[in-house]
Amino acid sequence: MHALSLRNLTKTYNNGFQALKGIDLDVEAGDFFALLGPNGAGKSSAIGIISSLVNPTSGSVSVFGHDLKRERDKAKSCIGLVPQEVNFNQFDTVKAIVFNQAGYYGMPRKLALQRTEICLKQMDLWDKRDSISRRLSGGMKRRVMIARAMVHDPKLLILDEPTAGVDIEIRRAMWKLMKEVNEQGTTIILTTHYLEEAESLCRNIAIIDQGRIVENTDMASLLARLNLDHFVLDLAEPLVMSPQLDGYQVEKFSAKVLNVAVPKEVGLNHLFSQLSAQNIKVVSLKNKTNRLEQLFMDLIESKPVSAPP
């Protein structure tokens, strides 16, 4: 079953800007789905339409089989949104923010209090329940928004750049949290500028650019289309010039660090032979993890993605 189906979705703003030019997209139930794109590509418009914050110009949105126009209540009840920016009343307590949201979804008081407690405990915020929300740290505010989005137990959770501007410790904690939520059966749609985040969390991906979907596939297939692996080599001795290594693209990061692009069909043995022959000693080697970044740049710059070997 599709958690989300978009059909020929368009959005033209009053100033004439066409943010979406007919998008078709399906997200399977239970998926952890990445929706990526550069700034101004149409991601926020798409997320806004799905979560009823933006009126579409044309097209349809269906959430777990419920059309957003015809079965508004059922469709909306399936969705939880964690927006990009803090948008709760910063003078309210943490508990009031989550509890009131349960009320907006028609939840009776007793159940709303139970769900509020469950969600705040899950987000490790129960001790802060009576705190005024503006006094919370940035990471805590993000977690309040996740608790608020989950209080009505949505089947589809939309996370719009949930880790933007938070430190690496909080980001890692939030990744763990998102994985747990997804493992419990909640479909997650994630938009992010951290491609490493999408690569490590998401199973399927759509890339949107200039109002159109330019790629929609599973993460593994997309990454398999790369025929180059990038390695970072730490050297024992500094180099004056970048070495010539036949069959490899070499970039000198610093005197003792090289970035080497290794074609999959060539492999690493030949690389080390040449390095040994030139008396270059390698102390350590690591694979660059942001492989998605190159693909992303290729796609939005309309370059052909490197063909498989």
């Binding site: 009840s77 927006p83 920016e85 009320g103 028609g106 009776p108």
Partner: protein, 254 residues
Amino acid sequence: MNHFIAFKTIVRKEIYRFLRIWPQTLLPPAITTALYFLIFGKLMGERIGAVNGASYMDYIVPGIILMSVISHAYSNVVSSFYSTKFQRNIEELLVAPVPNGVILAGYICGGVARGLLVGAVVALISQIFTDIAVNNAMIALTSALLTATVFALAGFINATLAESFDDISLIPNFVLTPLSYLGGVFYSVDMLPAIWQKISLGNPILYMINSFRYGLIGITDVDVPVAFAMMGGFIVLLTLVSLILLHKGIGIKN
């Protein structure tokens, strides 16, 4: 989907908001109106004498009560809903399955509650200066309720269309306050020259104040049924405009 729970949630949140900041919402009208009663009613009123058979103090009490109801019903909704827009926590309501009518009803009830509560506070203050025997409590309460609803709706429309904090102070300062003062709070329209009497009849607040005054002291410059019909008409019209704005997402959605 139980929309009544959503409605109750909005109303409770709104009432809690203005009670939490009572030094800003309930205390100032108590002090200001006490000064009105003291200066205009007591000190000057004794020199002015009776108006349409009532002491000047008794004559101005209904107008001052209703003026407080008008300004607080309006300002509660305009400031609360505009802040909700400004802080973007309107998105909490838009994401959830809350019908537009429920959003509107919730905010209007919050505004009416504050308007009536402030009206009650001012009425209590007035008891220090005079002792009014209520002529018709039902007419007085209905007038206050309808007036508060009209201005809560007007505040909602103002908040929806406002793009800055300046926009939410323009109408109260340049429209509501002059119309209230010219609506017969401190005088009877009979005291005006003929041309100004006719012009005053175009001021809707005149009808509201006079129907409320009739309810409290049994004196009015207008027909009470006409005043009720006019307020009912305004409520229908402003509700329709508010719902259209919400439906189209004007000022709220992109």
